[in-house]
Structure formats: structure tokens, C-alpha cells
């Protein structure tokens, strides 16, 4: 698919994301700093920052590039730089799971991973699982069981459930309660989420109602 940077930088603009970054870079006169190396513990360790540094990420099988300060989290890079806004910023400190993405097959809180250290890993976001016309079975199960109200926690739950089922294809209800307990919902959609996880696992689970 090649370079997808700026996908979704939409809105009838004649300026591509690449051009915009160049313009923005000039306007803000932020120097791009290439990594330095320092000797630490007998090895050459690259040092990035404090300014912006080029970051390349593989998200949903596509390459994305941006110049980011090393302190920028994977969550903020997804949302602010690549317009992948399915992952949400809620607690912003690794508690609520609304920012969950899959990194090399494992569910992680993207608010607690730096974008720069996510390089070289396979990142899957909720957008990579399916779209409204072709929903992933987990997404379809969430819909069927009304495992959502305001929907703000839902993408994180969907991704966490997908990662959980990949490792535990036939969970018991008790395993579901433990396996996706790293996500929080305020509206109280858990009855639907429990049933959705079981339905997606092929257990035929359905919420009563």
C-alpha cells in the first residue's frame, strides 16, 4: 500500500499532509534532530530529542511517518498525527483501556507507549479490524448485544476483546470477566460486553434481552 501518511487528512484541502508538515515545520522553525549515540553499559545507545525526530510506524499493515518529539505517546501520534481517532484518550495514564491497541499480538495501552518505541512493531487499531460495512466478528457481536451506549470506551473494549479471544478462543464467562477487566466503561455496558465476548467466541452467548 506504500506510504499512507496523512490518510484521512481530509476536508477538501488541496494541500497534502506531506506538504503541510513541510510548511508547518518551516513556520514553527523546529530543527529536526537526528539521533545521537552515547556509550552506555558498553553499547552505543541512540538518543533522540528533545526536538522532533522522524518516526515510522506500521499501523494496520500500512506505513505511517511523522516528525515527533520523543515524549509523544503512541496514542497521541495515532490521534493527532494520523487521524486514527478510534483509540480514545480518557484517563491518559494506563487505567481505563480506552486507548487499547494491539502491538505484536498483545493488547497495550497506547497512552503508555511512546510512539518512538512503537517503531518496528506491528500495530493494530480498531480501524484495522473492520469497518461499518465489513465488521469484524467482535465488532458485530458488540453491536448485536448492544455492548455500547455513549460508545467512547467501545473501541478500546473491542480491541481488548479481540486480543483476549486470540489467546483464549473458548473462554468461560468467568475468564471473560477477568480477561477484559483492564477496560472501564462509565455508561455501564458490561452486561452487553460479556455477552459479546462469548458470542464472538462462538459460544452463542446473547445478553438476556
Amino acid at each position: 500500500m506504500g506510504d499512507e501518511e496523512g490518510r484521512g487528512r481530509r476536508r477538501r484541502s488541496g494541500v497534502s499532509r506531506r506538504d503541510f508538515l513541510k510548511i508547518g515545520g518551516i513556520a514553527a522553525s523546529v530543527p529536526l534532530v537526528t539521533p545521537k549515540f552515547v556509550r552506555a553499559a558498553g553499547a552505543d545507545v541512540p538518543v533522540h530529542g528533545p526536538g522532533k525526530t522522524p518516526v515510522s510506524l506500521t499501523i494496520n499493515g500500512k506505513a505511517y511517518k511523522a516528525d515527533l518529539e520523543p515524549r509523544v505517546t503512541l496514542l497521541d501520534a495515532l490521534r493527532n498525527n494520523f487521524d486514527l481517532t478510534g483509540a480514545k484518550r480518557v484517563c491518559d495514564r494506563g487505567t481505563c483501556g480506552a486507548c487499547t491497541v494491539i502491538l505484536d499480538g498483545k493488547a497495550v495501552y497506547s497512552c503508555s507507549v511512546l510512539a518512538i518505541s512503537a517503531q518496528g512493531h506491528q500495530i493494530t487499531t480498531v480501524e484495522g479490524l473492520g469497518d461499518p460495512e465489513r465488521m469484524h466478528p467482535v465488532q458485530k457481536a458488540f453491536w448485536d448485544n448492544d455492548a455500547q451506549q455513549c460508545g467512547f470506551c467501545t473501541p478500546g473494549f473491542v480491541v481488548a476483546t479481540k486480543a483476549f479471544l486470540d489467546r483464549n478462543p473458548n473462554p468461560t464467562p468467568e475468564q471473560v470477566r477477568k480477561g477484559i477487566c483492564g477496560n472501564l466503561c462509565r455508561c455501564g455496558t458490561y452486561v452487553g460486553v460479556r455477552a459479546a465476548a462469548l458470542q464472538a467466541a462462538g459460544e452463542g452467548g446473547r445478553r438476556n434481552g
Partner: protein
């Protein structure tokens, strides 16, 4: 005349069925765009500098270093030197920069000098010698007139002698007049002296109110129970924090995305502070990540996003609160506590009630809960003291004042039942006439709850549960109004057969979009997918804010009326082709046909083609006093909880909860049930975990994050059962809102179940292990706020 009435059960194609929410696929795939997700090219990121002090005077503000910081495009003061701050986290300065890191760095460069003043953040029981009096807030006046039923003359003289703490707006007074506030009181408010916030004293005591003869009532009581009950300040904790993105497409026009429960009401709130006509302000919102009563106002950050954008040449500026601010300043449910004495005859007949209550909603003091809740004990004496303190101001929280009232009332009644050696179910049924006018509904619901949780089979007298892990049952009843608000929609049938409904409402996740689509499609006899609903824009007809469970009644009624009017216009065009009169036609099952001779019919699309080139449009309106009335008010619900309490650790576990709920005619059973499940889960959170813990030393909230401000997790409860009362006796009442009522009872039901399990009352929510253990040790539970 057009027949707007809701169709009879056998004529409904969609209403009352289980339909999956129409925006579900957008939400589960992460495609649904919230205000927080707005990301237009060139957008600037806004940050707010907040007060670290709970009470202070601003001495100076220096933004020069922040203004020079690379990437900063605009800075706005949100206060000024000399102004006083009344709670920690209040807004002082806002700025906008090209990216988030620049904005954060610049915010740290703002220098503010404070004169720190003494603060008070406690809501502990007021001293006994607090005199009656003090200036009144809006909430307090409303509470005095409605829930406390203070005679109007007394309220008037109090307003005249002690003043008020707010500047009354003429439009609010007009509204109050419409709502039935007496002229004498409105006049007194208009002329009252205004005491600035924070200057009205810490305690404001309302004179004692009586009903019947409480002294005689207690002397006639054979059993009297006394106790103390209450629940603390909690916060809304919306997962999508409050915030807005504003831009100026041209210098005269403002375009605002805002996370709100009140799309149509936002321009009117912005026009005055921005000194521009409301008509030049467009507001848009597709989805909102939770509101729960905290998102009706444009808020200072909404206004400042527009000001920053203007300074930055009109570029979009997005300000979303961080989690700490969300919990500190963007939501608080007032606390309410009371010492209660309640007396009955030996057979359980309730005779007398007395309470002395207190609570806070921040600087404004907060309203008084309606006590005794629902159960109208014949003889009553009651008093309330509002505490004004330095915490973030109160906002409406699902069913304002009701959950607090239920915790106090149902707790006191359960303690009395225990003293009478009565099963609470029998005790409630014995006194059911006191719950009038919904006595019959409650009796029916109590019996249904009994059946679903196995109450009669499993209930044991207090403290008779064996072993260290004790099991108990508790119940509570609740009510709410829920009449539909004013709502208008544009209802269009196009010549190609497509149908659209447009209105300036919003879907909080309650299923509003889905329900509108169901009503529209059902009314036209077309499939669900044939209708397109568009919400969330001030370019559409105005529809009320989504609060107080008023949305479903409002939007379903306006949609129904718009649909029938549009359909009648269509019938007029189609009738000649079917050789019939328009009033002989009906739209059923994807056809327009002659009701008395259904073979004479046209498929929907062909019928619509008779419109020629132009669509038909009708404005559907719901407002009070319309005939027929498609909405109604006043629901009843019963909840029962089955809990286990580990008496060695103090940990409470909810094994099962049952919610039996009436809400008139249910539109979408699926999303309605979701509301009730959600209310139970939210209720478990405020029963067991939630409390805004204030630090007396610093005046700040100690747990303004999601580790220590705990919500219910997916593994924190057992089985939940929801039963909606529908069918004959319920459906014909019309559509009534549902979001508030089921949130009322969980605290009371769980608290009662814990008391039943361990044999003693844990006085205050949340029922944390330390409080449970303290109650077991026979100590008066330590107030977290002390």
C-alpha cells in the same frame, strides 16, 4: 383530523421491538467522531492554566513568557487580578499552540501570584447552633418551594431579608413564572440584594417544616428507629471529557463542535459573552462520550475556545479538559446526609418522620433532597442545612437529589422494619398507600422483583446469615417525571421514497437516533432502514437539552406528529391514483393502500413518485398542552440487591440485582434495557466506590484520576436482571423518559442488603471496606471528609 395517537399494539411494526442501535457499527469500528476526535488541518491545541488553591485572590498574571513560546498563537485571560477564586482547578488563563506539547510547555510558563485565603472543603455535620437564615442560591430557592414545601410567604421574607447569591436573569424568571413560581417570589427575587458567591456564610439553615402533627405522631408510635444516613459528593467522570472546538469561517460567523447534551441551547449561551447574534453561531455534534447531567452549559472553556480562535485568525482551536480537571471542576453530585427518626405502630403502619439534613454542592450550597422519599409518612418534621464550601460547583447528576433521598429514606425505613421484625417487602406493602399515586404500580413491581430475585425464598432476618461471609437482601423504590421536552423536527418524504428526519437533538448513547428512526418508519409503514435521521446541528429545528429523561418523550412525539402530517400530504397526492379520498388511505407494510379495500394499493416508492418533483415536508412539534398528549410523566421502579459481605475484610460483592421498571410506552426495548443495566452498574459504582475525596490541608481533590476515583469494572458484579413493565396498563400512558429513574435505587438497595447481611447499618456510601469494618466494630463510621 390527523390521527397522531400511538398505534395499538397489534398495529406496531417496530415500536416496542428490540432494534440494534443504528449508530452501533460506527461506534464499534471506531469511526464515530466525537468532539475530542475533531482534527481539521491547522487546528490549534488549547490548554488551560488552573488554580492550585481552593480559595485565593489573584494578585497578578504574567503571560509574557508563554506568549513568546514557539508555536503559541493566542493567549486569553479567563480571570483578572483582584478576582477571587472559590475552588481548586478554576480557570485562569487559556492558550492555543500548534501542537499539544508546545501548549503544555507554554502553560507552564504562565506566572500567577496568589493571595491564598482560608478554604473550607468539608461537608461534615454542621454545628447544632447554626441560626436559620442566610442568602439563598437558585437551587435552594427551588428546593424550598418544591421539595421542602416551605410556605411561599416564608421564602419571600427570607429572600427580602437575607438576599440571594446569584444575579437573576429576566428570561429565567419568565421561565420560573411559567413553571408556576408565584409572582410575589419572582418579584422578591428581582428586587433582592445580591450577595457575592462565597460571602453568604458557610451554613444556611432552612426553618423547620412540618406536616400533620409530628410530636403527636411520635407519641403514638409504638416502635421508633433512629439512624444516620447519607452519600458523599461524587463526580460525573464522563469518559469523553468536557470540551469544544471553535473556528471562525469568517469574522462574523462562529462554528463550534462541543461535547454537549444541549446542542440547540448552546448558541444562546455564547451570544452574550461573545457579543454576537446567536444566529451567527452554528453548533454541531455527532456523538457525545457521556454527559449524565454535566454537559448542558457551554462552560468557560467553550467560550474561551472561540476567543482564542478569533485571536488566532479564525483557525480551529480545540480545548478538551484533562482527566484531573474533568474530575475536579466539570461535575459534582451534591452530598446529602441526615439524622432520621421514624416511628410506626407495632403492625408496621408508618406514623411519624423527623429528620435534620445537610449537604453541599460547592459554593452554591446545593439543593435539598425530597424527604421522606416517595413514602408520604402522615406526620413529618424536617430541616435542612446547606453547606457552602470550596469544591467545584455542583452539576445535575442523573435524577438530581433522588438517589440521595432514596439512600436516606429507604435506609431509615429498612432499619425500622428490622426493629419491627418485619420483612421489608411486607413492610412496604403494608404502607403501600403512602406511595400514592403509584401505589398499584409499586405493589405490582415489588411482587415481580420478589419473583425474579427469590426474595421470599431467600430473605432472612438481619444478621442471621451464618459464617464469615454474610449474605443479605435489600430493596428500594423510586420515581421520576420524565415528560417529553419541547422538540421540533423537519420531516421529509422525497419523491424517490426516501425519508429524512432532522432535529437539533442529540444521542447521549441512550438510543435517541434509533428510537426516532423507529417511530418514523413505524408511522409510515416502511422498513427501519428506509429512514435517515440527522441530529446534532443548530441548522436543524430546535429540540430540548437531554436532561431529566425528557428526550425520548419529546423527540418521539415531534417525530410522530411530523410523520403523520407529512404522510397526510402524501395521501393527498396519491389518493386520485387509487381512486379514493386521502382520509381513506393508510400506509402499511411498505404500501399506501385503501384501508377498506387493501387490494387497491401502491408500493411505497410508486406512491412517493406521485409527488412529482417536490418532496413533502412537515414540521413536527411537541410542546406542553398538545392534544393528543403523546408523552406522560411519573414512573415507578423497584430494585432488589443480593450481596455478600466478607466480615473479615469488609469487602462487599453484589451477587445479583433485579430492576423492575415502568416507563410507559417503550420505543426500543433493547436500548431501553441497556439504560437500566447501565444505571445498575453506575449505581454499584456510587454504592461501593465513588467519592470525591477532598484534602482539608490543600483544599484539593485527592483522587482526581481513574485509579483512585473508581468506577465499576466488568468483573465487579454478578448477575443483573432487568424487567420492563410493558403492555396493557403501561403502554397507553404514552412515552416517558427512562435515563434517571433506574439510577435512583441502587445505593439504597445495596446499603439495605449490606445491613441485612451484617446486622448493622453502614451509614454512609460508598460502602468501602473501612466503613463496613467500622460499622461491624460498632463504631460510628468515620466520615472520609473529616
Amino acid at each position: 383530523m390527523a390521527n397522531y395517537e400511538w398505534p395499538a399494539a397489534d398495529k406496531r411494526s417496530l415500536i416496542g421491538k428490540r432494534i440494534s442501535r443504528v449508530d452501533g457499527p460506527q461506534k464499534t469500528t471506531g469511526r464515530a467522531k466525537y468532539t475530542y476526535d475533531q482534527n481539521p488541518r491547522g487546528m490549534l491545541y488549547g490548554k488551560i492554566v488552573r488554580s492550585p488553591h481552593a480559595h485565593a485572590k489573584i494578585v497578578s498574571i504574567d503571560t509574557s513568557a508563554a506568549e513568546k513560546h514557539p508555536g503559541v498563537k493566542a493567549v486569553e485571560l479567563m480571570t483578572e487580578p483582584g478576582k477571587e477564586i472559590f475552588w481548586a482547578g478554576d480557570e485562569l488563563v487559556a492558550l492555543a499552540a500548534v501542537d499539544e506539547t508546545s501548549a503544555e510547555d507554554a502553560a507552564r510558563l504562565v506566572k500567577i501570584q496568589y493571595e491564598v485565603l482560608p478554604h473550607f472543603v468539608s461537608d461534615a455535620e454542621p454545628p447544632a447552633d447554626v441560626p436559620v437564615g442566610g442568602p439563598l442560591s437558585e437551587n435552594e430557592i427551588r428546593s424550598m418551594v418544591t421539595t421542602l414545601q416551605v410556605p411561599v410567604g416564608q421564602v419571600v421574607s427570607r429572600v427580602q431579608s437575607d438576599g440571594i447569591t446569584f444575579t437573576p436573569k429576566e428570561e429565567d424568571l419568565e421561565q420560573a413564572k411559567k413553571n408556576g413560581m408565584p409572582d410575589a417570589l419572582i418579584d422578591a427575587i428581582r428586587k433582592a440584594k445580591v450577595v457575592p458567591p462565597g460571602k453568604g456564610g458557610t451554613y444556611k439553615k432552612v426553618a423547620a417544616q412540618t406536616q400533620g402533627d409530628p410530636d403527636k405522631g411520635f407519641s403514638e408510635s409504638e416502635v421508633v428507629s433512629e439512624g444516620i444516613y447519607g452519600s458523599p459528593v461524587i463526580t460525573h467522570c464522563c469518559l469523553e471529557s468536557h470540551g469544544a472546538m471553535s473556528e471562525w469561517p469568517d469574522p462574523e460567523h462562529l462554528f463550534v463542535h462541543i461535547s454537549t447534551q444541549n446542542v440547540s441551547g448552546i448558541p444562546g449561551q455564547m451570544s452574550e459573552p461573545l457579543k454576537m447574534p446567536a444566529t451567527n453561531i452554528r453548533v454541531h455534534q455527532d456523538h457525545v462520550g457521556g454527559g449524565f447531567g454535566s454537559k448542558f452549559s457551554v462552560d468557560s472553556w467553550g467560550i474561551v475556545s472561540a476567543k482564542l480562535s478569533k485571536k488566532a485568525g479564525g483557525k480551529p482551536v480545540k480545548i478538551m479538559l484533562d482527566r484531573r480537571a474533568e474530575l475536579e471542576v466539570a461535575g459534582a453530585r451534591p452530598s446529602a446526609y441526615a439524622r432520621v427518626k421514624v416511628g410506626a405502630k407495632k403492625d408496621g403502619t408508618l406514623v411519624a418522620w423527623e429528620h435534620s439534613g445537610w449537604g453541599t454542592g460547592g459554593v452554591g450550597g446545593g439543593g435539598a433532597p425530597p424527604l421522606p422519599y416517595i413514602v408520604n409518612v402522615p406526620n413529618q418534621k424536617k430541616q435542612h442545612t446547606a453547606i457552602s464550601n470550596n469544591i467545584g460547583s455542583a452539576r445535575a447528576w442523573r435524577a438530581p437529589n433522588h438517589p440521595q433521598a432514596a439512600v436516606i429514606t429507604m435506609g431509615a425505613l429498612e432499619d425500622l422494619a428490622a426493629k419491627l421484625n418485619m420483612d421489608p417487602v411486607d413492610f412496604f406493602l403494608k404502607n403501600i398507600e403512602l406511595t400514592s399515586p403509584r401505589a398499584k404500580i409499586y405493589a405490582e413491581e415489588i411482587r415481580k422483583g420478589d419473583e425474579l430475585i427469590g426474595w421470599k425464598k431467600n430473605w432472612r432476618p438481619r444478621g442471621e446469615s451464618p459464617g464469615p461471609v454474610k449474605r443479605g437482601l435489600g430493596m428500594s423504590i423510586h420515581t421520576w417525571g420524565g415528560r417529553g421536552h419541547n422538540s421540533e423536527c423537519d420531516f421529509t418524504i422525497n419523491p424517490d421514497g426516501s425519508v429524512s428526519v432532522k432535529l437539533g437533538s442529540q444521542d447521549l448513547g441512550t438510543g435517541t437516533r434509533t428510537c426516532i428512526q423507529m417511530v418514523a418508519a413505524d408511522s409510515l409503514g416502511v422498513p427501519f432502514d428506509a429512514v435517515k435521521v440527522e441530529l446534532g446541528d443548530t441548522q436543524y429545528p430546535p429540540s430540548g437539552g437531554s436532561g431529566g429523561s425528557t428526550t425520548i418523550g419529546g423527540v418521539s412525539s415531534s417525530t410522530r406528529r411530523g410523520a403523520i402530517d407529512a404522510l397526510n400530504q402524501l395521501f393527498a397526492k396519491v389518493a386520485p391514483a387509487l381512486n379514493a379520498k386521502p382520509e381513506e388511505l393508510e400506509a402499511v407494510n411498505g404500501t399506501v393502500r385503501v384501508a377498506s379495500d387493501t387490494k387497491r394499493s401502491l408500493p411505497w416508492k410508486q406512491a412517493c413518485a406521485k409527488l412529482g418533483a417536490m418532496p413533502v415536508t412537515a414540521r413536527g412539534v411537541n410542546k406542553s398542552g398538545m392534544t393528543p398528549d403523546l408523552t406522560n410523566s411519573g414512573v415507578g421502579g423497584v430494585q432488589m440487591a443480593d450481596v455478600s459481605v466478607d466480615t473479615e475484610t469488609g469487602i462487599v460483592k453484589v451477587n445479583k440485582m433485579v430492576a423492575v421498571q415502568d416507563c410507559g410506552l417503550v420505543i426500543d426495548l433493547k436500548t431501553a434495557e441497556s439504560q437500566v443495566y447501565g444505571a445498575l452498574i453506575m449505581g454499584i459504582a456510587y454504592s461501593l466506590y465513588e467519592e470525591k475525596i477532598m484534602d482539608e490541608q490543600t483544599g484539593r481533590m485527592l483522587n482526581a484520576n481513574m485509579e483512585f476515583y473508581r468506577l465499576t469494572g466488568i468483573g465487579d458484579f454478578g448477575e443483573l436482571v432487568v424487567h420492563m413493565m410493558t403492555g396493557p396498563g403501561y403502554d397507553e400512558r404514552g412515552v416517558i423518559g427512562l435515563a434517571e429513574p433506574p439510577t435512583v435505587s441502587p445505593g439504597a438497595a445495596i446499603s439495605n442488603a449490606v445491613a441485612n447481611a451484617i446486622g448493622v447499618r453502614v451509614p454512609f456510601l460508598p460502602l468501602t471496606p473501612d466503613r463496613v469494618l467500622a460499622a461491624l466494630e460498632g463504631k460510628e463510621a468515620r466520615r472520609a471528609a473529616l
